[in-house]
């Protein structure tokens, strides 16, 4: 390939990437634009990207009408706890699944994949009864428990992949040097797994942060409702919506995930590099 052809190909790749990014960013940019538009502009036949008369009224109205801060605090508690617990449980389990191949491990992997196919509606009633028995209806801890159980299969599957990517020879070398199993896991494998653990935690966090149906069904009192449930209070029957405040609240609801991504993305990259040079 000549340098010129290479440059053309590279330009094509960047153009395709830009198109993809624009495609991905479109709904989010539109959400931001809508959040700052006054009601009259929302009904315009010729909508503009930049609001002609930007306003914070939608944000004021959203905060006036719904307890967004309290709901955000509930969501944050549930999502952080769920992510932390899921990772703590999934890491040793994933290690066992990846390193000790056998019928049990294969069956467990199969079950993990199959369990992802269950729709929410199928599991919600038995789950509701179990949580009622445990007195965990209308409790954030009940919701956290559900989120952990719900995200655990995929977290396991994800982490098992990361474990398999760690060369067993490293662990064997550590064993030859006299390290015990626990020592090997903590000092050799865990640091190499760090990016995977962070990615898995992020996955569990976002799953819990965005989850709506379990929270809707399990939490009854307004004081305990999470952000996705409170957002639906801007929606009426037959798809009618209080669009401005809804967009404003939804925009605020996306911020924690974005911030977390921005922070963690560097860690994932850094972790990968660290893993590459580990001896």
């Amino acid at each position: 390939m000549s340098p010129r052809t290479g440059r053309t190909a590279r330009a094509g790749q960047y153009a395709a990437l830009m198109c993809y990014l624009v495609f991905l960013a479109f709904p989010f940019l539109w959400l931001i634009s809508t959040a700052f538009k006054p009601a009259r502009e929302l009904g315009s036949l010729h909508p503009t990207w930049i609001p002609e008369d930007p306003t914070l009224d939608n944000f004021r109205q959203a905060f006036d009408e719904q307890p967004l801060l309290r709901a955000a605090a509930n969501s944050l508690t549930a999502a952080l706890c769920a992510a932390l617990i899921a990772v703590v449980i999934a890491t040793p389990m994933a290690y066992v699944m990846a390193r000790h191949r056998g019928r049990l491990s294969t069956a467990a992997t199969g079950w993990v994949v199959v369990s992802q196919a269950f729709p929410f509606v199928l599991v919600i009633i038995p789950l509701f009864l179990v949580l009622k028995y445990l007195h965990l209806i209308n409790s954030l801890w009940g919701l956290i428990l559900v989120y952990v159980v719900w995200s655990l299969p995929f977290a396991l599957w994800m982490l098992a992949g990361y474990v398999r990517a760690v060369p067993p020879e490293l662990e064997e070398a550590a064993a030859v040097d006299g390290a015990g199993k626990a020592r090997i896991l903590i000092s050799v494998t865990a640091p190499l797994l760090a990016p995977g653990i962070v990615a898995t935690a992020l996955f569990a966090f976002i799953t819990a942060w965005n989850e709506f149906f379990f929270a809707l069904v399990l939490l009854k009192t307004p004081e305990k409702q999470t952000l996705p449930v409170v957002l639906t209070h801007f929606l009426g029957a037959e798809g009618v919506a209080d669009l401005g405040p809804l967009a404003a609240a939804a925009f605020l609801a996306t911020l924690p995930s974005l911030v977390l991504f921005a922070i963690i993305q560097k860690r994932i990259t850094g972790g990968l590099t660290a893993g590459a040079v580990k001896h």
Partner: protein, 431 residues
């Protein structure tokens, strides 16, 4: 390992205590014997939520022995949420829903039969046709209290400058006249009408009543069959002709929801839009400065202005240990002045005769008077209590009507699908 066991036990105990401490509060009575009821409301517009909360506060102030907790529900997934709550024995005592969502709950034994619980005042205040929307078998499982007719929201300037006759509830347009009018209003970048038919089934069935259409027919044995007569074809035929022959209805609107048509309406692209009565609030909020609009009745046929509705309802859970008190709260909430407050908050019509007579609902402003005049013509939506209707709607009627309105299939093919395929679906539910 032995050293770790006590630590593990301590952690487990702490976790159990933590879980117990954080668990939801139970019980339906306070320590002092006060009865505690939960009222799950689906009100969502600010005025409506405010009205509901204020009424709950007024009740609580006047009834120290029976306190009501307001719980904010959501129209999104309300059916699944209620079903789970019923199955788990944790349903709210007082339930806000829509009448077309009640059949499964009523037949499933989740809702209390209200016949002996409601006072005569309330029973007599609400017309029989409204009670029919919440009557399943021999029981009444909800109090219908708010309803929403379809109306034509029209651009006043376009309408008046065209010289067409302006319809009133006393002298509405007939369907053929409506077709002529939309042709007259079409031109210079304006369509006479935009039919938002993203969800075409309920609109078609409900407006079909105006021409004597019924589609669903219950036999003496209680079984429902689908039959298509001349009246069933008037409304869909008019819309199809407007879109495909006259070009007086915007084809692009066929895939839209009601709110999606408003920008085009404000921009003068559509002269009229058939919408639910409560959409007036969005028009008030979003219409550009100086935009003049008016509310007109939908066209009439051999059935007059009749159209189907599925009112909003208040029910009592069968599992509630305080059904009598729950019914008393509903009676309080639906006293005529309170019903008016709720109706104005939701921009809808009350079902109660006394509330409907309130002067506040007869003002010309924002088309209240036109809507109120339509109230006596409102009937239960034709498929209200038909088991198997959701499947027929999703698998048979929605695609068939979408194809019909767009001109892809003809009248005979539509009839074949709605009736023949439809009866096969219903038969499975009525064995």
């Amino acid at each position: 390992m032995r050293r770790r066991l006590p630590a593990l036990a301590a952690v487990t105990t702490a976790l159990v205590l933590l879980l117990a401490g954080c668990s939801g509060e139970g019980g339906d009575r306070d320590a002092d014997g006060t009865i505690r009821l939960s009222f799950q409301s689906l009100a969502w517009q600010k005025e409506s939520v405010d009205a509901n909360k204020q009424l709950v506060r007024e009740w609580n102030a006047a009834h120290p022995g029976v306190q009501v907790d307001y719980v904010q529900g959501s129209w999104d997934n309300v059916h699944d949420q209620l079903l789970t709550s019923f199955e788990g024995g944790e349903a709210p005592d007082i339930i806000h829903d829509a009448s077309d969502d009640l059949a499964d709950f009523a037949y499933g034994g989740y809702l209390a039969d209200l016949r002996t619980l409601l006072p005569d005042r309330l029973t007599e205040d609400i017309p029989q046709q409204s009670w029919a929307t919440t009557t399943f078998g021999d029981g009444v499982y909800g109090v219908p209290f708010l309803q929403e007719p379809k109306v034509l929201i029209a651009n006043k300037k376009i309408l008046e400058s065209s010289g067409v006759r302006i319809p009133t509830p006393e002298k509405p347009w007939s369907w053929p006249e409506f077709r002529q009018v939309t042709e007259q209003l079409t031109g210079k970048g304006t369509y006479g009408v935009a039919w938002p038919l993203k969800e075409p089934v309920s609109v078609t069935l409900n407006l079909g009543l105006s021409s004597g259409g019924q589609l669903f027919h219950r036999g003496a044995d209680g079984k429902v069959t689908i039959r298509s007569n001349e009246g069933d074809r008037v409304m869909p035929g008019t819309v199809r002709d407007q879109v495909n022959s006259d070009r007086s209805a915007a084809r692009s609107a066929l895939g839209m929801g009601g709110s999606d048509t408003l920008p085009g309406f404000f921009g003068g692209k559509y002269a009229m839009v058939p919408l639910g009565f409560s959409y007036r609030q969005q028009v008030v909020e979003q219409a550009p400065e100086g935009f003049e609009w008016t509310v007109l009745p939908t066209p009439a046929g051999s059935g007059g202005l009749a159209q189907g509705v599925s009112p909003q309802t208040l029910s009592v859970a069968e599992d509630s240990p305080h059904k009598k008190e729950a019914a008393q709260f509903i009676d309080f909430l639906l006293r005529p002045p309170n019903m008016v407050r709720l109706a104005r908050g939701d921009w809808m019509l009350p079902t109660g005769t006394e509330a409907l007579a309130d002067p506040a609902l007869h003002t010309e402003e924002n088309g209240w008077a036109t809507g109120t005049a339509l109230a006596r013509s409102l009937r239960p939506a034709p498929a209200q209590s038909v088991r198997g209707y959701p499947e027929w709607k999703d698998k048979v009627a929605t695609p068939a009507l979408q194809e019909y309105y767009s001109g892809a299939i003809g009248t005979e093919e539509l009839r074949k699908r709605l009736v023949d395929d439809g009866n096969r679906v219903l038969a499975r539910y009525q064995r």
